[in-house]
């Protein structure tokens, strides 16, 4: 779904493993970035005494490459995007229209048509359709992989395999799905041979089936990542807890719901945030599966696909306004979840 999703998840996994000697709860709580940030900062301050001070200017030197590249390749484009959102600026054929300052006219247009909320809803539905099975199977697999008593034979093989779908280009993946689920495709012919269908089901012209397919593809592509992350988190749990629970006569299911899940909560929240950011950026899969139309009746059109529509006429104004809005939506949703988890942390800490 997204780069963010991809790269952030394993961070936590390693954290967990490495800090497993520490108390389980504090270990888990340190996963959440805000708490983490604070802790790092404070501890750095604490450690930062005489020897380090004179070297500290090197901190700035080491930041230079990041800052310079960031400013040139991301900040300038970002600022110009925001700037553009207040202008009428597009191409009509080979003629440039504008830029004319129009104030918040572009934003108004977005809100008045109201379509943006429909596309937001579509994006969320397709994200949830992929995220639910993703988190369910990841938890299940994670608990199996980290269960020493289960002794799965080919665990190494399975762990390697579940990440593989991520290596296929999203476009190639969608192309395959389009072929497999065509009216005359193999899926329909199998269903008809089995007598489930009497005539081909048109997967691509039914809102539910298109959305489900998109969700399914996202699930297949990303559940490996989530599993690896959650698995590592589970491995970080003190085995003593499980042993104690077993002595108390807990079944494995009870252990899962009473020990594993509560401890994993911070990671789960983190998975939620990264996956959400990735979900909001959903593009390739529905774009290629529906040929860019978001059919039927744009019920599978995502926000970024909508953005892409405005790129056709190089409509910097509308695309800019949409981008800014997308940024705000992402920010708000992330903050809500971050804050939620942050509060939890604080409570946990006080309890200790």
């Amino acid at each position: 779904m997204c780069r963010g999703n991809r790269s952030q998840q394993p961070v936590i996994s390693e954290e967990n493993i490495k800090e497993k000697e520490e108390s389980v709860l504090s270990n888990q709580s340190s996963e959440v970035s805000q708490a983490r940030m604070e802790a790092t900062y404070n501890s750095a301050n604490g450690r930062g005494n005489k020897n380090v001070v004179k070297y500290n200017r090197w901190g700035y030197f080491f930041l230079i490459p990041f800052i310079v590249v960031y400013i040139i390749f991301q900040l300038i484009p970002l600022v110009s995007t925001v700037y553009n959102s207040f202008y009428e600026n597009y191409m009509s054929g080979l003629k440039q229209i504008g830029p004319n300052f129009v104030g918040i006219e572009n934003y108004k247009q977005l809100f008045v048509s109201g379509d943006i909320w429909i596309y937001f809803k579509n994006t969320m539905i397709m994200w949830i359709l992929g995220f639910l099975p993703q988190i369910f199977f990841s938890l299940l697999l994670g608990s199996w992989f980290s269960d020493n008593r289960l002794k799965l034979r080919a665990a190494g093989f399975f762990k390697t395999v579940i990440y593989l779908p991520n290596l296929i280009m999203a476009s190639a993946f969608s192309m395959l799905f389009f072929t497999l689920f065509a009216d005359s495709g193999p899926v329909n012919s199998i269903l008809m041979q089995m007598g489930i269908l009497s005539e081909p089901f048109s997967f691509m012209s039914n809102a539910t089936s298109v959305r489900s397919l998109v969700g399914f593809m996202n699930f297949i592509m990303w559940f490996g990542n989530t599993t690896i992350l959650l698995m590592a988190g589970m491995l970080g749990i003190d085995p003593g807890l499980f042993e104690a629970a077993e002595i108390d006569g807990c079944t494995s299911t009870q252990k899962f719901f009473l020990i594993t899940l509560p401890i994993l909560k911070p990671i789960l929240l983190f998975v939620l945030v990264t996956s959400l950011i990735g979900g909001l950026q959903m593009f390739d899969v529905p774009q290629i599966l529906t040929n860019g139309t978001g059919d039927p009746m744009r019920s599978s059109m995502t926000l970024i696909m909508y953005l892409n529509k405005h790129l056709f006429s190089k409509n910097y104004g509308m695309a800019g306004a949409l981008s800014v809005l997308l940024f705000i939506i992402t920010g708000i949703l992330s903050l809500i979840i971050f804050n939620f988890s942050g509060n939890k942390e604080a409570i946990n800490r006080k309890a200790r």
Partner: protein, 499 residues
Amino acid sequence: MKKKIVSAFLCTTMVASMLAGCQGAAQQATDAASDTASQATEAVADTAQQAADAATQTADAATQTADAAADTAQQAADAASEALDLSADTGKVLNIYCWNEEFKSRLTDHYPGYEEVDATHGKIGDVDVVWNITPSDDNAYQNNLDEHLLAQADAAEDEKIDLFLVEADYALKYVDTDYTLPVADLGITDADTADQYQYTKDIVTDSNGVLKGVSWQGCPGIMFYNRDIAAEVLGSEEPDDVQEFVKDWATFNETATKIKEAGYNVTSTTNDTYRVYSNNVSSKWVDGNTVHIDENIKKWVDDSKVLVDAKETTTAELWSDDWKKGFYGDVFAYFGPAWLVNFCMADGEEGSVATNGRWGGVVGPQSFFWGGTWICGANGTDNPALVGDIMRQLTCNADIMKDIVEKDDDFANNKTAMAQMAESGYTSRILGGQNPLPMYMEGAEKIDLSNLSEYDQGCNEEFQNAMKNYFDGNAATYEDALELFKKAITEKYPELTVE
């Protein structure tokens, strides 16, 4: 003999390049001299004079050599005059913008003097040919072309676009601007293009009636029908009889019902017939800034809806697996030009209708065309003579055009050449021994494309996409689909409104 011709070409090319080079040097020297005229020393003038003299001498010598070397004096004379023309060009690089390899192979195979250097470079004389190929997916080709055309004025000499290609659907977007040169400015006369089909000229004629591009191919389409189905349902597989069953849309739709009763689909998808309707509109998609839906387009919607509801056709995308299914039977008709049946309909595959030679061709309800590529000269080119010559050779030279037909199976944009081909007794194995050329020629003459607008590409595409929802049902009415079309159009072209 072939070798001889090749060596003659090589010779003439060498001569041409020598001439061009010397003339260029002389020209430069002369320019330099006049520039510094106020403080000109005799020495400079002398040098210029000498250079010019030398050039003339070399030219003379070269012409003599050419005469001696070439097999026929005629060829050499042609080459010499061509070389003189080219010497007016100042550019050393010919930049060609296109979206695939088709034109490159045409130029490589058929333009005298083109030498391939590598995949993206070639040489004509001493001019370097640079191919800028951007795929048309996601509008990437036009985006790239637009960007460079707009920067044309400030571009360095060697970076300027000299020649670019366009497709019919968006030709006017470029043709109706000053970025495209009238072909007359490139030395192409009305006499040169007299043998070309009128519709190929309509597409690239701007709103002032000026011709701004040329094409080497014609793509008139006909209706291909499955002979087995025709024999079974219509009682005859002969083209003349079948044409009676599809002579207009009303009859076509009645026939569709009969075909369905026998268990077949009349067409593979509603999009098959779209082109036929949209080529025969009586008004433009966009007039001023307002989008109109032409009656014939509306008729396509109504007819198609009936066909889909009766399950006589589907709503699959063109080129999709579902669309291709009919290549192996079960679909009565496809609409397309020659290249469709020859290259795309699974000829050579076991069990396909094409392999068995069981397609037939008829004119169908209305004339239409599908495909084609047009050559345009970019304003600001520094090689106008060369661009003009490429256009003339590839689209006006009857010999080369016949060559294209023979080697590449294209339908060439040349009435005389095609008439000769048609009379040569050509028959198509795929079409069960029928000779389709007279039908193509008849179709090409009838196509009327005076109602093009620069927004056709977007309108056609979005209209078909939107109407698919209506055909599919999905609780979408015609009004809903129309609403969707309006939305899509205003996204694509913010300057337009839909009535």
